[in-house]
């Protein structure tokens, strides 16, 4: 008798578990999103989206655009996701060139008067936020350890390779993150390729870690595991305002920037839902959320500058050749892995 009970209990348990068992289904009211933005902003934006459209969002949040790029490539025979959001457009474009993205032109762009600089003319990606690379310092640790030795705060990229910063520097990996890659490309545009590689090697001497995700760098800096970092300004500002982290942001001249993009994956389960998602990101609410909680600049004119940030048009950027950066992405990553590769 007891055996039968155990068998029944087992069957009931299994049956109770099963309904959620199928693969992520192509129900008309659900989309799957791969997001390179951190958890907080992603869940806030998605909550708004569901409220507005009634479509449920299942999101995989990996704050490393290069990683998501790789995942989308691996899944190209059976795409599991509808949307790739976050990360600079130079990480979406290679996927478009490999035929992995779907073309779409959102009508909201024209309605909102968003500049065409922020949208792909071919229709493969839409930009919806901006970010600027910067130097970030843990003032706590800097004042305790480096200032007494007379070290000045770094103000330019070249200051970072000074020997007094040995072991104090962290940055995100150029292979797995967008920020790391754009930094590498920006140095090449600033110095020319040969000198840029010399610069990266010199910087490597000072680097204690290349973090696999972008927020990982801020995490280390916040905890005082590093003193100086290269990261998106908005991540640091967010940490400072939301978590009282002792971080100072210095935006050097000749810096790099990102136009954070969203694109539709070809062959995903719910293309209509994906298009609704892109339309949604072009409206005011998500860009406002991103500005308030992610401290990123919005592409829409009617969203204010994030608190604590310098207006975008006042920053000095290096002359960035987007096409070249996209063409050489694989080669540069591979060379970095070979020569420095950690």
């Amino acid at each position: 008798m007891r055996r039968i009970w155990i068998a029944v209990v087992a069957l009931v348990l299994v049956a109770g578990v099963l309904p959620g068992g199928g693969p992520v289904s192509a129900q008309p009211n659900r989309i799957v999103v791969y997001s390179a933005l951190p958890d907080l902003e992603t869940s806030l934006v998605h909550r708004e989206f569901t409220r507005r459209t009634g479509i449920q969002v299942e999101a995989l949040v990996v704050p490393a655009a290069g990683t998501l790029q790789a995942r989308i490539r691996t899944e190209k025979d059976r795409p599991r996701a509808d949307v790739f959001v976050g990360g600079d457009r130079s990480l979406h474009i290679p996927l478009a060139r490999e035929g992995l993205l779907e073309r779409y032109r959102s009508p909201v762009v024209q309605q909102a008067g968003i500049s065409t600089d922020f949208v792909d003319p071919a229709g493969f990606w839409h930009g919806w936020y901006l970010g600027a690379l910067s130097i970030i310092i843990n003032t706590d640790r800097f004042d305790r350890e480096l200032a007494p030795r007379g070290v000045r705060k770094p103000a330019t990229w070249d200051d970072l390779v000074r020997p007094e910063f040995r072991g104090h520097f962290v940055m995100p990996s150029p292979v797995t993150t967008g920020g790391g890659y754009i930094f590498l490309a920006a140095q090449i545009f600033r110095l020319g390729e040969d000198r840029a590689w010399a610069y990266m090697r010199a910087l490597n001497t000072n680097t204690s870690q290349y973090t696999p995700t972008a927020p990982g760098t801020i995490a280390l800096l916040e905890r005082g595991e590093a003193t100086v970092a290269m990261m998106w300004a908005h991540e640091a500002i967010g940490a400072r305002i939301l978590r009282a982290a002792p971080l100072e942001v210095i935006v050097p001249p000749d810096t790099g920037f990102e136009i954070g993009a969203v694109s539709i994956i070809k062959g995903g389960p719910n293309p209509a839902g994906a298009r609704a998602y892109v339309d949604f990101l072009m409206t005011r609410t998500p860009q406002d959320v991103n500005a308030r909680f992610g401290f990123r600049y919005a592409v829409r004119g009617d969203v204010g500058v994030p608190s604590g940030a310098t207006p975008f048009n006042q920053l000095k950027f290096v002359k960035y050749d987007l096409d070249w950066s996209v063409q050489n992405q694989a080669r540069l990553r591979e060379r970095w892995t070979r020569e420095i590769g950690r």
Binding site: A10, L13, G20, P23, P63, G224, A239, R243, R342
Partner: protein, 542 residues
């Protein structure tokens, strides 16, 4: 010989149900144990394999993994020996307490020790910064060494304690009678007879250290290791070939250690010939030794306590390291992620049911006189030789393109079959204790093989079933190494969420969610205890 075989086969042919079940079990094991393993090994080409020595980073990772294996195994085994000693000699104080305390790391998720020690001893550590005002970098191999020692010594303790307990006290008394000092008795009798236990413990711990993913990914920092490297390759860069190569490198030592343990150490038991067993008390332990051992145990217990304390404290602290005030805010965030706990439970239940049923079934089948049962037995214990990351990559390669890919099932099946050896071996051990005559009576009454299983063995094995379920459930719910490879948006489990939270510095929520996971684990153990009366062995998590 051939005639006997033929006779066997003819007899089995008369019991088709059993034969079919055997073939079915063999097919299932072949599909879910052997096939993924083979897929991993044949995925890279010959040139890829030959290219390994020229990849500096992988050679470094391999060297680092082996170094960690040596030092962590040494320290964990030593600590395990001390604890085994402390808990098996009657004149040691607080034996029960130390034994229970030592078991605690086994129930924690694989990254918990690393997480807790970052909170306690890192740069913002409560102890290093809060109390001593020091500025300590816990990342890298020293931190990993400490973490792995604490995480894996319970394994060593269990194995060595088992052997120490079996040492006949009368041998020790005989030695004393012959004039040996207490130290000499310990050295030449107790420890010498424990040698196979120590060797076995070292091999098992070594496999766990090599395969350790959860702790390594948190605390190793920039220190490359094979286990974490495979994940970085696949997740970070989509480099399936690289990931396969790295886990192939990792499986060589783990399989080697496994074979060593199974075919050399386990076989060579030191048999003590003493006639009847003795109920004599053990020889007294030298007082100096006693105090040293107790001191070490107390210190280690404190370290273990810090693991649990650290995580729970982290869940209630507003901003760790900066704002030490009490706060409940993290629990709100963790509560939003409760869905992941539900998913974990679902997968755990599925995995537990699969492990229990397949384990008992295969145990039953290998106890029959069927052809090729050695092969079945080998397949059932093979997962013990494979690191979690190897199984993860294997299932990605084997099933990602199939309808199974991306579902709850593939994760549950991977976890279930990785934990199969535990269920299988526990069931086998219990089966062997059951008198054959019961079965023979049933056969005399006309029962077929399967009927014997259902009517005779299952009622007697119920406890084993429940135990196997419980162990598999707990390990599935706390697993990290397989989960990170097979995770998909619809199947976000708690351990993955926690890992992400720790890496993005939302420690409070991570600690809160970990505490919930721990509560779940302990509730399961409690329920199992109620149902069965004891919980089976829980070797270290992966």
């Amino acid at each position: 010989m051939a005639v006997a075989r033929l006779g066997e086969l003819r007899r089995q042919a008369a019991d088709p149900g059993l034969l079919l079940t055997f073939l079915g079990a063999a097919a299932v094991l072949g599909l879910f144990v052997l096939y993924p393993a083979i897929r991993v090994l044949i995925y890279p080409s010959w040139q890829d394999y030959l290219g390994i020595p020229s990849s500096l980073r992988w050679i470094q990772a391999a060297r680092n993994s082996l170094v960690m294996m040596v030092i962590s195994t040494a320290s964990a085994t030593l600590l395990g020996l001390v604890f085994a000693f402390a808990t098996t000699r009657p004149d040691m104080p607080a034996r029960r307490f130390f034994r229970n305390a030592a078991m605690l790391p086994l129930f924690a998720p694989p990254f918990m020790v690393a997480f807790a020690y970052i909170l306690m001893f890192g740069r913002q550590g409560l102890i290093t910064r809060g109390i001593f005002g020091m500025d300590v970098n816990i990342f890298g191999w020293p931190g990993l060494w400490v973490v792995q020692t604490i995480a894996f010594f319970p394994l060593a303790m269990l194995i060595i304690a088992g052997v120490l307990e079996a040492v006949n006290p009368s041998l020790e008394h005989a030695a004393r009678n012959l004039g040996a000092t207490e130290w000499a008795v310990v050295r030449t009798i107790s420890l010498a007879l424990a040698r196979p236990g120590i060797a076995g413990a070292m091999l098992v711990v070594a496999i766990s250290v090599l395969a350790d993913f959860g702790n390594a990914v948190l605390i190793a920092g920039g220190f490359p290791l094979l286990a974490t490297e495979s994940w970085f390759r696949l997740e970070g860069m989509g480099d399936l070939t690289g990931a396969a190569l790295v886990v192939a490198m990792l499986v060589v030592p783990t399989a080697g250690l496994f074979l060593l343990e199974r075919y050399v150490v386990a076989r060579r038991a030191y048999v003590t010939v003493t006639g009847r067993g003795s109920r004599m008390e053990r020889a007294p332990t030298p007082p100096l030794l006693r105090w040293i051992v107790v001191a070490i145990c107390v210190f280690t217990t404190a370290m273990i306590g810090l693991v649990y304390f650290g995580v729970i404290a982290g869940a209630f602290t507003a901003i760790w390291g900066r704002d030490w005030s009490l706060s409940l805010q993290h629990w709100h965030l963790a509560a939003e992620r409760m869905g992941s706990l539900v998913t974990s439970v679902k997968i755990g239940v599925l995995a537990g049911v699969i492990t229990a049923t397949v384990g008992v079934l295969v145990a039953f089948l290998t106890s029959r006189r069927l052809p090729l049962r050695q092969a079945l037995d080998f397949l059932a214990v093979l997962p013990g030789a494979l690191p979690g990351v190897f199984v993860g990559v294997g299932f990605v390669l084997a099933f990602n393109r199939t309808p199974l890919g991306g579902t709850l099932w593939v994760l549950a099946i991977a976890l279930a079959f990785w934990h199969l050896p535990m269920g299988y071996q526990a069931a086998s051990a219990r089966l062997r204790q059951i008198e054959r005559s019961i079965e023979e009576a049933a056969i005399n009454l006309g029962a077929s093989g399967l009927r014997v299983l259902w009517d005779v063995y299952l009622p007697l094995l119920l406890r084993g079933l429940v135990e196997a379920f419980a162990v598999s459930f707990i390990r599935a719910v706390t697993n990290v190494s397989i989960v990170v490879f097979l995770i998909t948006p619809g199947q976000l489990v708690a351990t993955f969420i926690i890992l992400g939270m720790i890496q993005s510095n939302t420690w409070g929520a991570a600690a809160a969610l970990t505490t919930m996971l721990l509560a779940l684990t302990f509730v399961s153990i409690g329920l199992t205890w109620l149902a069965v009366g004891r919980v089976g062995r829980l070797p270290a998590m992966g």
